[in-house]
């Protein structure tokens, strides 16, 4: 098989994947637009709803891709994702928050460096913590690694909540003097710095979108575009809507970059070793690969990407608080990955998109749809009142209560979907798309003269 042939094959696959991705995204978006029509949304409402959907598709897509590097490629069972996300966004906040406390005495400041520096620092520190976890933990069995990583993410959350790290006062000058010789003298701009404790941190740095556009010299054209939209389409204050949409698009571009990076990694010699480790670590070791080093690199890279995913998810929010970083988010990303199928990058992104559209945001839309269609009145305050109405053969209160609790039932649905997937399609919706640990295609060419009696040579000479 010639190289061109192989390339054609890969491109063919890519073509089909592109259509698949577009079809799935198209279906989800269409459903949301139709739901918007049913709610009687105007243009503004529709755009808001689409921006929100795009945000979560992007966020879960990115995180599922990063997890795919750990689990799909290398077979590392990491359930501490939210810990790395939290580290990323907290470090970004510490580095980029303005030094002077603006939110009153209770608020802590930061170092006041540009947002780009903060994001870079967040990614690097998340990767560093990945190294810290991986160095001792990668020797462990998969289930032990799982427990260690989830314990790690909880330790991170306790640290965020702790009063001990809430706030430090930074001295005006830091002098390091050894034996009378002044080594260096630093004059930090920060007054206070810390993790903010249970109250979290207010992210009062420059708006990430504005910072990005200013770097690209697109801020003025963007403002012009917003003014244009205001004149023609949305008369009152269109900026938040357009901001949201643009941020969603930025996240999708992020997904694209993650995808490119990871598929290139997967196809490189490095990626093949990772897949070999996933299949059988002892064999990879016996072939002379330093599997510990490969696992370590993959874990650190994946952790850094998770940190970046966390930064992009949370840095556009007004504030961050420790309860956002509960292990639930980790399991959301896992469900997304399993929906799409571990081991395939396209599958990971599709899983992220389907999870975000159907399981994460979908139930809320169903609730709103039903509420818009029927005038159901107030929900019963608790399960008892809801069930009590059955006595008078009135199921409506129960249904209203169910709808009202949709944010909890959403998680029940996720759990049931996960169980169903593990029973029926453990390889994911896309089917068996795990890439093999080989540089050439290992599948036998099908069709043609496969059925010929000439296969007495084992079909090897074809």
């Amino acid at each position: 098989m010639s190289v061109d042939d192989l390339r054609g094959r890969f491109e063919g696959l890519f073509e089909r994947d592109v259509t698949l991705v577009l079809a799935v995204l198209g279906t989800i978006y269409l459903a949301y637009v139709l739901a918007g029509v049913a709610f009687g949304y105007g243009l503004r409402g529709q755009l808001n709803s689409i921006a929100n959907l795009t945000f979560y598709v992007g966020a879960f897509g990115m995180l599922a891709l990063a997890l795919n590097l750990h689990w799909g490629y290398t077979g590392l069972f990491n359930i501490g994702i939210v810990g790395f996300m939290g580290i990323g966004v907290y470090v970004t906040a510490l580095v980029s928050k303005p030094p002077v406390a603006q939110g009153g005495a209770a608020q802590v400041g930061g170092l006041g460096l540009p947002l780009g520096v903060g994001m870079l620092a967040g990614v690097v520190v998340a990767g560093g913590f990945g190294l810290l976890v991986a160095l001792p933990a990668l020797r462990l069995r998969a289930d032990y690694l799982a427990i260690v990583t989830v314990a790690f993410s909880e330790i991170i959350r306790f640290t965020m909540m702790s009063r001990t790290f809430q706030s430090y006062t930074v001295p005006d000058t830091i002098d390091l003097t050894v034996a009378g010789v002044q080594l260096f003298s630093l004059d930090p701009t920060a007054d206070t710095i810390g993790l903010g404790g249970g109250g979290g941190l207010i992210l009062n740095y420059a708006d990430p979108l504005e910072a990005l556009l200013r770097t690209l010299f697109l801020w003025e054209p963007y403002l012009g575009f917003v003014a244009f939209v205001q004149r023609t389409l949305i008369p009152n204050n269109p900026k938040p809507v357009i901001d949201g949409l643009l941020y969603g698009i930025v996240l999708l571009i992020g997904v694209g970059l993650f995808y490119l990076l990871l598929s290139r990694t997967g196809k490189s010699p490095f990626g093949r070793v990772l897949k070999a480790i996933r299949e059988d670590e002892d064999v990879a070791n016996a072939l002379g690969k330093d599997t510990d080093r490969f696992k370590l690199t993959a874990f650190v890279l994946g952790s850094a990407l998770m940190g970046l995913g966390g930064i992009l998810w949370y840095s556009s929010r007004g504030s961050i608080t420790p309860p956002s970083f509960r292990p639930n988010i980790t399991f959301f990303v896992w469900i997304a990955l399993i929906i799409g199928g571990a081991g395939s990058n396209t599958g990971s992104f599709l899983g992220g998109a389907i999870f975000a559209g159907l399981l994460y945001e979908g139930p809320r839309y169903v609730k709103n749809l039903v509420e818009a269609a029927f005038n159901l009145g107030d929900a019963p305050r608790n399960f008892g009142e809801a069930v009590a109405a059955f006595g008078s053969l009135d199921p409506v209160p129960f249904l209203v209560y169910t709808l009202d609790s949709v944010s909890q039932l959403r998680l029940v649905i996720m759990g049931v979907v996960l169980i169903w997937l593990m029973h029926n399609r453990p390889e994911g919706l896309l089917g068996h798309r795990k890439e093999t640990a080989s540089s050439v295609d290992l599948t036998r060419p099908s069709g043609g003269d496969a059925g010929n009696a000439a296969a007495a040579d084992g079909g090897e000479n074809r």
Partner: protein
């Protein structure tokens, strides 16, 4: 490169020895801080005793819950992440029964069965407590165990049994799904609020003198010790005196071989669930009775500590689970002497991680279910 060379390099790369030295140094510093604190009076003996007492009781609950986890872990070969929500289920089932028994006649049955969801009934007003309403508590504990057994068997039949032959990781992921479904169904039915469940003021207590002060022992502490001790002894006898223990050990070593030798493996699995889930449900109920509050997240929050205990003690060993539970409980409570109190649980996780690094088979190593 020779094997020994590789091994040495391996040890160096992973920095095992600096870690070991670090652990020893930390231990020395802790001893020094404790002794000097006691000497100078910075740490009171009575407050230390009260921390130790609290840690011991916490450890008994963790250990009791850990037995079930350890048994299923070694026999079915997967880490059951839904175990914490079995604890919660037991706690809610038991408390609903206690509420019903203590409050029937004066309150609506629905409010009682929902354990006072939305503040309709208060446990304190019903006088829930081992001395004030002993029958309600005993019945509550029995129902907690029974319903958790039924729940575990139901889930096993419809969730775990169809994929019994899959890898431990597939089962682990499935159990995360079970945990989600169970936890948020409980929240759907019983509401999200954390409620007080006992008449905390009317629980009899004595102040035990301890050198420079006293520490408090309540009737619920005592009942927890009696129940936990009794159940642990019962499991010990069950596994020692019957063939079940031997069959379980055989299965955890090699399931196929066990089946060939005529061990009815499915029946052993069912018995394992019954014993494990019964203990778990009662542990959940006793936990809630002891701490006096109940929320839908309680079991999940305890789960990682239970895992820590089971790993510490060595998977498959019930004595390991009990011993590990007590070590973890003591760590989580007593560590506040050295570190800020927010990090008590973090310290317990660190102990688990250190054990996994140096002795991954656990301190009471070996598969010794019995």
């Amino acid at each position: 490169m020779s094997i020994s060379e590789t091994y040495v390099r391996y040890r160096r790369t992973l920095g095992e020895e600096p870690l070991a030295i670090g652990v020893v140094l930390v231990a020395l510093w802790m001893v020094w801080a404790l002794v000097s604190g006691l000497w100078t009076g910075g740490i009171q003996v009575s407050s230390l005793a009260s921390l130790v007492w609290d840690g011991l009781l916490r450890g008994l609950i963790i250990g009791l819950a850990g037995i079930g986890l350890s048994m299923t872990y070694s026999i079915l070969n997967f880490a059951n992440f839904a175990h914490g929500d079995y604890l919660t289920s037991g706690a809610f089932a038991g408390m609903a029964t206690s509420y019903l028994v203590a409050g029937i006649g004066e309150n609506s049955v629905g409010a009682l069965l929902l354990v006072g969801a939305g503040g309709s009934v208060f446990g304190g007003a019903l006088g829930i407590g081992v001395t004030t309403s002993p029958i309600a508590v005993v019945l509550g504990a029995i129902v907690a165990g029974g319903l958790t057994i039924a729940l575990a068997l139901f889930i096993d039949r419809f969730v775990y049994k169809p994929i019994r032959d899959e890898s431990g990781i597939a089962l682990l992921i499935t159990s995360i799904g079970v945990a989600f479904a169970l936890r948020y169904l409980i929240q759907f039915v019983f509401g999200a609020g954390v409620r007080g469940t006992t008449a905390a003021g009317s629980v009899p207590r004595i102040n035990v003198p301890a050198f420079d002060g006293t520490f408090r022992v309540t009737a619920h502490d005592a009942s927890l010790i009696v129940v936990a001790g009794g159940l642990m002894l019962g499991v010990h006898l069950l596994l020692q005196r019957t063939k079940l223990g031997k069959a379980m050990r055989a299965m955890s070593d090699n399931e196929d071989l066990a089946r060939i030798t005529g061990i009815p493996t499915e029946r052993v699995i069912r018995t394992t669930w019954i014993v494990g889930a019964g203990l778990t449900g009662i542990a959940g109920y006793m936990f809630v009775l002891w701490k006096g509050t109940l929320g839908f997240n309680d079991g999940w929050l305890l789960l990682l500590l239970v895992f820590a205990a089971v790993i510490l003690g060595g998977i498959g060993s019930i004595y390991g689970a009990i011993g590990g539970g007590i070590v973890i409980g003591l760590t989580a409570s007593v560590s506040v002497i050295w570190i800020p109190s927010e990090f008590g649980r973090a310290a317990a996780f660190m102990v688990m991680i250190v054990i996994l690094l140096f002795k991954p088979e656990g301190i009471f190593s070996g598969r010794t279910t019995a």
